[in-house]
């Protein structure tokens, strides 16, 4: 084994045959490729339901291209599935902040999704600055920020700054929210 080996066990082909990891992970790969296949089939099925206006002059109607896209997706997903059966696993992305040895931390992912979904309610009800405070603070805390109040405070500051820069200065209509609406500079 050499000192630095980005791809384990001398994989010379672009897709390395990875040593077996957890069965859950490889199941996930099949599920994702299978989902791709289903989307392709759905696209083909959905293409048949597109209404073709009677007497349209164009020779190629609105259905043809969707059929082609569906077929491409089905073929590509099948190729991935066949590759998986032959042991051609996908190589997960590298990144500066990605720990190659870490196990997948689903809890954090779920927390981030929930935090992000809070925007659906908060932007309209509580206003943009509060929504940013929750997204930023919530995400930072979920990712292990040291001080909870510091994270929320920075989030609120970021919310106010973006409200001012994008809302007031650049003129995007971000709702300032009931707490700030009375301040003229945030009112846009």
């Amino acid at each position: 084994m050499t000192d630095v080996a980005p791809v384990p066990s001398g994989a010379s082909a672009p897709e390395g045959t990875l040593p077996p990891r957890s069965p859950v992970r490889s199941a996930g790969e099949y599920v994702f490729a299978g989902a791709g296949l289903l989307v392709g089939i759905g696209t083909i099925a959905g293409a048949g339901a597109i209404r073709v206006p009677p007497g349209s002059a164009s020779v190629l109607g609105p259905r043809a291209f969707p059929y082609a896209v569906g077929v491409l997706l089905v073929l590509a997903a099948l190729a991935v599935l066949i590759g998986l059966l032959r042991g051609r696993r996908g190589l997960p992305d590298d990144g500066e902040d990605v720990d190659p040895d870490a196990r997948t931390d689903w809890t954090t992912v779920a927390k981030l999704v929930v935090v992000f979904l809070s925007q659906l309610v908060l932007i309209d009800l509580a206003g943009w600055p509060v929504a940013v405070a929750v997204v930023f603070g919530g995400a930072a805390i979920a990712l292990g920020a040291k001080g909870r109040w510091a994270a929320l405070g920075i989030g609120l500051a970021l919310g106010l700054v973006t409200q001012f820069v994008f809302g007031t200065w650049l003129g995007l209509s971000l709702p300032a929210g009931p707490a700030l609406n009375w301040i003229p500079i945030f009112h846009g």
């Binding site: 084994m1 597109i50 164009s58 609105p62 997204v135 994008f166 650049l170 971000l174």
Partner: protein
Amino acid sequence: MDSLTALLEGFSTALQPQYLLTALFGVFIGTAVGVLPGIGPAMTVALLLPLTYTLDPTGALILFAGIYYGGMYGGSTTSILLNTPGESASIVTALEGNRMAKAGRGAAALATAAIGSFVAGTVATVLLTFLAPGIARLAVQLGPADYFALIVVAFLTVGALLGSSVPRGLVSLGLGLVLGLVGTEVLSGQQRYTFGIRSLADGIDVVLIAVGLFAVGETLYVASRLRHGSVRVIPVDRGWRTWLTRDDLRRSWKPWLRGTAIGFPIGTIPAGGADVATFLSYATERRLAKGEARAEFGRGAIEGVAGPESANNAAAAGVLVPLLTLGLPTTATAAIIISAFQSYGIRPGPLLFENQSGLVWALIASLYIGNVLLIVLNLPLVGMWVKVLRIPRPYLYGGILAFAGLGAYALHFNVIDTVTLLAVGLVGFLMRRYGYPVAPMVVGGILGPMAEEQLRKSMAISQGDVLYLVHSPFAIVAYGTLAVIVATGVWLKRRRARLESSPAPVPTGALPAVEAPTASAPDRGPHRRETGE
């Protein structure tokens, strides 16, 4: 010279104080965001898009040009100074640059990258200036069948060449095409795949696809496997004297020019953008290196930073050639830029140079200006970028999510876009996890509708004769080239994978002086070894 007068006019626009400030701001913010780890050029452009929403088209495009070049440059700083591998476009720079930094020569690596980027960016912009009008004039004569051929070439090269596996790239492309189908179809006004949801009738904005895949998807993926503990940045001396010695300069100037010569043409053809160019340049420099330099490869050879970094920037300018003259995006970043153009009602393509010539030339002039601003800004500001690199990761990714939310909401001031963004982000997360490249999906999302339009136009002209698609010599050549590009591309990728899996075999004992002052930060070697076992 026609283009020269037009360019001078462009300069007279771009040098107006407010546009100069815009360019300066764009370069600054582009670099600042591009330096942030985990943020590549595509994400930089996507996240900063809301800044341009309310500007006039000229100002917006000038801001964009600055962000684009700044983001490209920022990435190299990250990969040189951060103790972990960078994103793919600059990972080749990391091979030597990171080792130079560890050997205490980080300042030289940064300087050769900065000057190389400047040289390559300027030369490539000159080439763009003189090539683009000619290509646009030729492109005016292309018919819909020719365009369709070009788009198919772009599809397949992008799908097949990005990422590590051809079928996965094509799945990614296919998903993007499906998203591109959603909405009201232009020619006959039929709704497709909208499931009766009204906001889907307008289609899914490419900005949502890009921000979702790059910002939200990346954040979720990093969150799932976050590297905990303190951030290790390799320290850099501040003194100006250590920047580039005469010897460094002597060793750098040829790689700069060679990198430019490699990067620009590769950027102009749809061959996977800067990725392939940086790798090719690295391989060339390694092969051409002689004597001392040859022994240094694999442990911090300055040629290995100067060449790829120039190639990277030259390719970035090269990408603008098909973008401006044909309206064809060949990278994810280019796809986002096109969608920004479209939101101003500007349609990039051969007619752009005729109909909007003032705008185009102001844009090109601002590329020159941006390049100068970049080098003026970056050499003195390295200390600040180093601080940016140290941002605690929870704050960094919290901030990315907040700005992604802003980008989505600011599209139509409607939270339904936020839901779409999150859905695309989740798909992006799974794609990264299972080794699917995300860039083809972005390109597919924007090129899909264009492909359909051209295809249906050609079929209307030919009354349904499929052979019309290959009736013109241009289309035949395009399909022929496609086969060649894909074949060479796959071959190059194999070579690259081999190169990355076998780093330069360095005889121990050579260059002890370089090894000595390192050790400020532990190597990534042992870390990696654990994965292999």
